[in-house]
Symmetry: C2
Subunit: 550 residues, 2 copies
């Protein structure tokens, strides 16, 4: 065991490990290098350096009672714990803890699907349940509900919601933390607590009414460290009767603003699922002059880009819409969308997409309509079907190099106002930031928002193929984003102090409030110290001020 | 000043009042009996008794800075505070505090509408803003968003959301605590904290993305006492193009189960707003035999009630649906609903309701279609129009008696599973409970669920016209409900300990967790001690164990 928890002697740690083994069984405590290798983040920016976060041990409980015992042992021996559900959180740290030397609490054995109700439309699951597991369960029983899978879907519902992951169907369901309804947590003192109606022992409405009575602490658990979640409820979308897609193109760069207004209307009225924006002008990127225009400092020039669009006959923007509901409703909503665009944006054009009754046949599922462009990675997820489509994004980006070094993979997805103005400003801010960093340009003026959040936009960026560059870029981008009002929504543990420092209103009032609560609820600071930027007093000296490195 | 805060001498209290006056101005500190009369709950169960909660003073700040000063003064003099926004929380305690002798912090002067955006569809308001205020603001500017008003609508958005009030339009919006997006609070230490993207100083997305980064403590403020909310954001529904209603009748008692399944499907797919269930069999209540059948102990007898339905030609149940969206979508959804009912419940019948393009004309607004039955109090609210319709329910129930005594008015709305089985069991449980209490029967077998919550049902009950009986009934009903799995969602301060005691999972783990956090965040316990059943250590002896009185 090369790594020990801070301030814990090898001897004390051995005693703790012995007690963990007594609680969960020898075979479910892992301390060998070979076993602990599996808990390293393969895409860590600090992979192989002395700053990489490494586990001192891992322990895999099978029940809530075992989790309680682990927490009590950790308090006794002051061994910090870091709970993971499936650990498949690549781009966000995988299974690695904020504090190196933490004991990973691997909840993969707690993988029961406790309930799925397709009349009241909810599920209750343990942390080890993956999207594939739940999908199979529903399919095998012919239940009439959908899941809203993350892509890639080998991860779990609980872990994804606790990291505020997002999906692809209707707005309410694709914000996974929002769709959660009721949690059970083991607190730092070993108590088992249920939120919402779960606190009322005889209630059958735990997954129906999330607030319960009195305050609701549920929000403290996502991206936080106030408890180990052992059960979580989710609202499910009823299986729609029909699914339809349609593509809308608008000719001019400035049309994006009105496009976004109309799409906001459709989305906030719950008429559409996740939408997919793109710029057909990307087809011109082999033209050096155009490439320069797409990457100009200070943001894209409207007149210049409009000339390229007009000359090429390509639309400046396109947006794909997904409709769910009865067949006639899908059609009515699509017709309404077309009518709004035709009326409000001259030169709008329309492409009919898929129109399919649900549930799909096996053949439809596996041989989607040829209309679907290859590489359109969000499609299956938008139809409630889990897949590994997006894995290729990680995979191709991170070749194992001959010396065994992997290339860092870290998500940076700032929250952006859902307006043309917001998108254009983000293009400019991040385009210039890449130039300042000396990184290859990413055609900023053609970059488009991701519409995962219910009411906000995000953007994605190509990261460099060198870990030191990724590190420098992330520090800089988080800071530049914050200075311009764009806050990162999720980041690997290594950068959580940096992002937290940007959420600084009122002299870091939010962080200080959390740390006051943390010290009261977890006086020994054993639960995931540092997660979400919250350091308990016992480990507060491990907070890192990244500003000095920006 | 007849009432003082606990453990505060008259002299100390005078000093505190002087400092409050220095902070907000003499004219905004109230200590006379005549002024404090306005902060009494006119409908208190304990009105006029020594158990009635009375204010020691009231103070009305005009700004966040003044709220901060009030909190600092309260810490210095140990004067408990009880913040109210508009104080119009009748049936739930009005402006009265959990702890008698509290100083009411009346936020009515903080009534600015800070922002309404009808392209990104949100509002940001101060606590004193009423539904009427926001409606007028939107109408005057011709903005294309709706509010989801509480009925009665003279109360404020912030106070209603903080008490988890509900409305009448689409599911996402009518759960007012759910539709909230971003809060600003003054904490017990005087800090000003913003949640979500509000914590990122330059962000323009405070009302777009509610989670922010790291844990989100927003859930601690509704029905809680962790801060004084000074600003709150709300997601708004885009103004729909069209509004349509339709009524569906089903012939047999047992048809309720399938009816509910279909309505759940429509609602969870966001195809309908709040629905209104009723039993047409109420028309038979002048028949003594039928009245007996409707009030039988052990619940309604299906065969017996079906005979009455068949003989009278009346439907056992009816449900009114509200559709929002483009005209063709409203029609498609209504046609789909009819088709589902016709296919799945034999003998279903349909009545076409309203079908109106929006926004309505002044005439349509004030002279609704004669199809609307008089007394149908939820109609205007379902169209996003604030009104005082439901005030008559309070008003008529609470005549001022000759001796100046008023009759208690207290809400009791348990959360019930959204299924036929759930409703039938609730009918039986509460029907029997009324009989056990010796109260007049309320035709339990015809009682129907209220569909305010997004995914749960509630029920309402006629309270007796005698305060002592109301008291006895509430204590009993809360306990019986909990024993049967039905938890109360909201209750006047006087009964919050009683309800909290029913949310007891894990030896009151939820309450104990809250009180651990409370003592850390508010060591002097000055913020609303007792609210939501959470007593800070300084006042913990005031928790009342109602079980002894049940």
């Amino acid at each position: 065991m090369a790594v020990l928890p801070p301030n814990v002697s090898a001897e004390t740690f051995e005693s703790a490990v012995r007690e963990f083994a007594a609680a969960v069984g020898e075979e479910w405590v892992f301390t060998s290098d070979a076993d602990l290798e599996l808990y390293r983040d393969p895409y860590s920016v600090m992979r192989g350096t002395e700053l990489e976060s490494l586990a001192s041990a891992a322990v895999a409980p099978a029940s809530v009672e075992e989790v309680q015992q682990i927490v009590r042992i950790a308090n006794r021996y002051r061994t910090p714990l870091f709970p993971i559900s499936t650990g498949k959180n690549y781009a966000y740290g995988g299974a690695s803890a904020n504090l190196s030397g933490s004991v990973i609490v691997d909840l993969k054995r707690m993988n029961r699907i406790l309930r799925v109700d397709d009349e009241r439309n909810f599920a209750l699951v343990e942390p080890g349940v993956t999207y594939f597991d739940l999908y199979r369960y529903i399919q095998q029983r012919g239940l009439k509900v959908w899941i809203d899978p993350a892509d890639v879907a080998w991860g779990g519902l609980v872990g994804n919601a606790l990291d505020r992951g997002m999906g692809y169907t209707l707005p309410f369901f694709r914000d996974h933390a929002n769709a959660a309804c009721g949690v059970e947590v083991v607190l730092a003192n070993g108590d088992v607590m249920r939120t919402g109606m779960g606190a009322l022992p005889a209630a059958d409405t735990w997954q129906d009414y999330k607030h319960g009575f009195g305050p609701d602490p549920s929000g403290l658990f996502p991206q936080g460290n106030f408890g180990i979640v052992t059960k979580m409820g989710f609202r499910l979308m009823p299986q729609p009767e029909h699914y339809r897609t349609g593509l809308i193109r608008v000719p001019r760069r400035g049309d994006l603003s009105e496009t976004i207004k109309i799409v906001n209307y459709l989305s906030d009225s719950h008429m559409i699922g996740e939408v997919f924006y793109e710029s057909p002008l990307r087809a011109l990127l082999s033209d050096v002059g155009f490439r320069d225009a797409a990457n100009r400092r200070g943001g894209g020039n409207e007149a210049e880009l409009d000339r390229y669009a007009a000359d090429s006959g390509l639309a400046a923007w396109q947006v794909e819409l997904q409709f769910y509901g009865p067949r006639a409703t899908c059609l009515a909503n699509w017709e309404y969308a077309k009518e709004r665009f035709a009326r409000e944006i001259s030169g709008s054009s329309f492409v009919e997409g898929e129109s399919v009754d649900l549930p799909m046949t096996e053949e439809q599922l596996h041989n989607p309509n040829p209309w679907f462009r290859s590489g359109l990675w969000h499609r299956e997820a938008g139809q409630g079907v889990p897949s590994m489509s997006a894995w290729s994004l990680v995979n191709t980006r991170s070749p194992q190099s001959p010396d065994g070094r992997t290339i860092a993979h870290a998500g940076f997805f700032p929250i952006i106002p859902r307006s043309g103005e917001g998108v254009f400003r983000a293009q400019q801010v991040f385009g210039d930031a890449f130039a300042d960093l000396g990184l290859p340009p990413f055609n900023a003026a053609l970059s488009t928002p991701l519409v995962w959040a219910m009411f906000a936009y995000q953007m994605s960026f190509p990261m460099p193929n060198d870990n030191a560059q990724v590190h420098r870029a992330l520090l800089h981008l988080v800071r530049v984003a914050a200075d311009n009002g764009f806050g990162d929504y999720r980041v690997p543990p290594f950068y959580q102090d940096h992002v937290t420092a940007t959420y600084s209103f009122g002299s870091d009032a939010l962080r200080r409030f959390h740390e006051t609560l943390k010290d009261a609820a977890d006086p020994n600071g054993i639960l995931a110290p540092g997660r979400g930027g919250i350091w308990p007093s016992a480990y507060r000296q491990y907070r890192y001020d990244w500003e000095q490195d920006v």
